[in-house]
Amino acid sequence: MTVAHRIGRWLADHWVLGVGLLVLGYLFLPIAVVAGLSFNRPSSRLSYDFHEFTLDNWRNPCATSDMCDAVVRSVQIGFIATVVATVLGTLMAFALVRHRFRGRSGINVLIFLPMATPELVMGTSLLALFVSAGVPQGFWTIVIAHVMFCVSFVVVTVKARLAGMDSRLEEAAMDLYASEWQTFRRITLPLVMPGIVAAALLAFSLSFDDFIITNFNAGTTVTFPMYVWGAAQRGIPPQVNVIGTAMFVIALLLVLASMLRGRRGRRAALRVAAGTGPARRPS
């Protein structure tokens, strides 16, 4: 085989990978820009171009206190919405996977529709409801809206984990005289936990980043995305890019840490299965 032939062969095998990496580059381009701009001292309030290197934005991320207030508010809303949505969604997932009951398809439609409905429609319809019911809009109407659109994603995520679970483990526990509560507490819950955690993280990121639905139901309350939206007309403080970069890094570290833990867990399980590792004492 000639060299040219070989190169041609290699290209034929790998061009897809090359295109894929290029597309990944495209996906990361704006992230690089955000990170770069977080070190920028802009020449004017309305300038979006890189002007001068500085560390000031990272030293004083809260130089514009409105922005930090908005970030704190987004975290509060995200936290409350995540807890409520995760509890409601997990309960629903258990009912759907573990029980047979009448009206299942109706419930499935109710869970599916919010994921297929444009955010704009959900946002405006909630606005119409709150206005006609005379409910003043603010912090709690945002929480209500966020729980609503997060629940479905929690159900789908937890359900996937539950459905893939080996129910023989629970049967084995029952055969060994564990009570139902013990079985749930010691077997079921730990096995479903990764699904619940993933669902909670998804819910938090959906809530933290939501703009469209929030915009229609916030009244005068300002979340971080709404702050950015408003600032886009008045001039963006460079600290916005600091928050954007920090969010990216924190989330990436969380995901990578969970990936590493998962890999370690799998290895440990393999060792136990092979009879070489320290078997955990049954408690």
Binding site: A12, V16, L17, V19, G20, V23, L24, L27, F28, P30, I31, V33, V34, Y48, D49, V87, L88, G89, L91, R98, H99, R100, F101, R104, S105, N108, L110, L113, P114, M115, A116, P118, E119, L120, V121, M122, T124, S125, L126, L127, A128, L129, S132, I144, F153, K159, A160, S205, F211, I212, F216, F224, P225, A232, N241, G244, M247, F248, L252, M259
Partner: protein
Amino acid sequence: MTALAHVPTGSGQPAAPERAVRSGRYRFLPYLLLLPGAAWLFLFFAVPLFQLAAASLYDPSGSLSTGYALTWAFGNYPDALAAYWPQFTRSFRYAGIALVLALLMGYPLAYAIAQKAGRWKNLLLVCVIAPMFTSFLVRTLAWKTILSDNGWLVGLLRDVHLLASDGRLLATPVAVVLGLTYNFLPFLVLPLYASLERLDHRLLEAASDLYASPVRAFRRVTLPLSMPGLVAGTLLFFIPASGDYINAELLGTPNEYMIGNVIDSAFLVRLDYPQGAALSFLLMAAILAVVFVYLRRAGTEEVL
């Protein structure tokens, strides 16, 4: 994000453990588990839709301060459509063009990760989701920097004469379509990846053993087998893209406004609730119609 792919049809569920079915004390348990979540969705998702429907039929001469009367004013719909037809069609045109671009980029990416990445698969998958960790709005503003008149991209395009010496990217339809493509691309890639990952590589080898050209093998084997992911991804891309107004607002001008911008201003600036509600419903109906026709033609029952 593979939401659509997971949707069950009611059949095909694993049978509940016998125990739970037989014993009477479990009979009400599923309803108790479902009640809080279902009530929340009913109250804050289903009921508001009816309220929106009612608002779209209010007497258009009313206002927020004087109050609205429900007069079944069906005329609101043709009126709204006549007033904002350009924005309405533009939404679907932009979302459609963005979808084609996203498919051209997303399919190779999903295929590369699923079939060619080997042990780097999970890491690359994280890389697809990672850009979404930064706020949607912050990312879109970054495009404003990239596409700006003084930026390197415009400079480069002017130097190679792809752009006239006074040509711009920002504040043009190109910028808005590019922003839409970028922001919703991961929604397309993830379900596609899930389908392609299950693709058995031996099928492609068999095709090539039987003298199929790579193109033919792709058309007859890979593409049909990736159809469920393709359909789910297309919908997950198209639905939010056609209802988006952030890209049009930040990267475009009023000449690029989509129907979302009009609805936003109807509710929050002009306070014309009947018109805003009518446009919202028209958007939903149009999207549902597109989705329905598309699903009929794509013919994958696995998705819905």
